[in-house]
């Protein structure tokens, strides 16, 4: 299980990465992240929405109300051009960090 500090740092990256594939509403977004990380990253409602609203204010994502086939109204979030721009350097930074940690742990085990 990944610690809470690292989770906070990766949360924005997780949301932006998942929204890169398709627009999603909050519940579906949380479920998708949990599935794709095999449960390592889990967002409760209390953690998810303040972050989504913050990211929306930063204009990385945009929420619009949509009505599903069963008539339910859901707020769907999609990545904005600014969000796409933010995602690439974030992905690079985290990839670099993980490579560095891998190298470090290999050295530690050698």
């Amino acid at each position: 299980m990944i610690g809470s500090g690292i989770k906070r740092g990766t949360a924005e990256l997780a949301v932006l990465s998942v929204l890169q594939d398709a627009p999603l509403h909050g519940y579906e977004l949380a479920r998708r992240i949990e599935q794709q990380t095999n449960g390592a990253l889990r967002f409760t409602l209390a953690a998810l929405y303040p972050m989504l609203y913050r990211m929306e204010q930063q204009r990385w994502i945009r929420g619009t109300w949509e009505t599903s086939a069963n008539g339910r109204r859901r707020r769907c979030y999609r990545l904005t051009p600014a969000g796409k721009k933010k995602l690439s350097p974030l992905q690079r930074e985290w990839a670099e960090l993980f490579r560095a940690l891998q190298r470090l742990t290999k050295v530690a085990h050698a």
């Binding site: 303040p50 609203y53 913050r54 859901r74």
Partner: protein, 234 residues
């Protein structure tokens, strides 16, 4: 099934947001809880357990309310400040400075008024243009829903920026002298202060009055009319 809408509305009744926005947050969060609850029921959990696990997603509703209010209002405030203060202010500053540079480039000479031994420079065409720039700043700010204070701040922004520069020059000069040890003993504080004050008349006081005159005229004009307010940032 619990009435999630009503539940969220009660728990987050104190959200510091406008009514429409508050309703949207309530609806969105209630929909999330509803889906969580339904998914747990599909997994075979009895109603009581499903409700319990759904509610466990929020340990502290007051804390969530505070976080949502901050997250949503911060952006609004920034957007508001940007449209009502900074964009009109910087536009007024840029246009007035570009106009001054053009006047200087095309050979407009300042009118010099001697005050004792210190000359005070007045660029008359520039001073005459400032009420228009001040009016433009005030108009843009008012149009974005800015208050009277914000509009006047925008129109006077060029002199506020220049005042900051003037005020910074003196201590920075003293620090440089102190660091380099290059003290000029015959330049006394009173002499420098007098020079700054007199420069201030030509560069700050008179231009400030001209800019504010434009801003006040716009205020006067639009106080009798209602400008369309921006609903997003108003």
């Amino acid at each position: 099934m619990p009435d999630w809408q009503e539940f969220v509305r009660r728990r987050l009744s104190g959200l510091a947001l406008e009514a429409g926005e508050k309703d949207e947050v309530h609806e969105e969060l209630a929909a999330h809880l509803e889906e969580s609850y339904e998914a747990l029921q599909k997994e075979g959990l009895p109603e009581k357990d499903a409700t319990h696990r759904t509610l466990a997603q929020v340990a502290n509703w007051r804390d969530l309310q505070r976080k949502i209010s901050i997250a949503r209002r911060r952006g609004h405030l920034m957007q508001k400040r940007m449209h009502q203060l900074w964009i009109p202010g910087f536009l007024t500053l840029t246009l007035s400075m570009v106009f001054l540079m053009l006047l200087q480039k095309f050979g407009s000479r300042p009118r010099i008024v001697w005050s004792g031994s210190i000359p005070i420079l007045f660029y008359v065409p520039w001073l005459l243009s400032l009420p228009f720039f001040g009016a433009l700043g005030a108009y843009l700010s008012t149009r974005a829903g800015g208050s009277r204070g914000a509009a006047l701040f925008s129109s006077a922004f060029p002199v506020l920026a220049l005042t900051s520069a003037f005020l910074l020059m003196f201590p920075i000069g003293m620090i440089i002298e102190w660091v380099t040890g290059n003290r000029v003993d015959y330049v006394h504080f009173s002499f420098v202060a007098t020079a700054l004050l007199k420069e201030g008349i030509g560069w700050l006081v008179v231009p400030g009055a001209a800019l504010l005159a434009g801003g006040l005229l716009v205020q006067l004009f639009f106080s009798h009319q209602s400008l369309p307010q921006n609903p997003v940032i108003g």
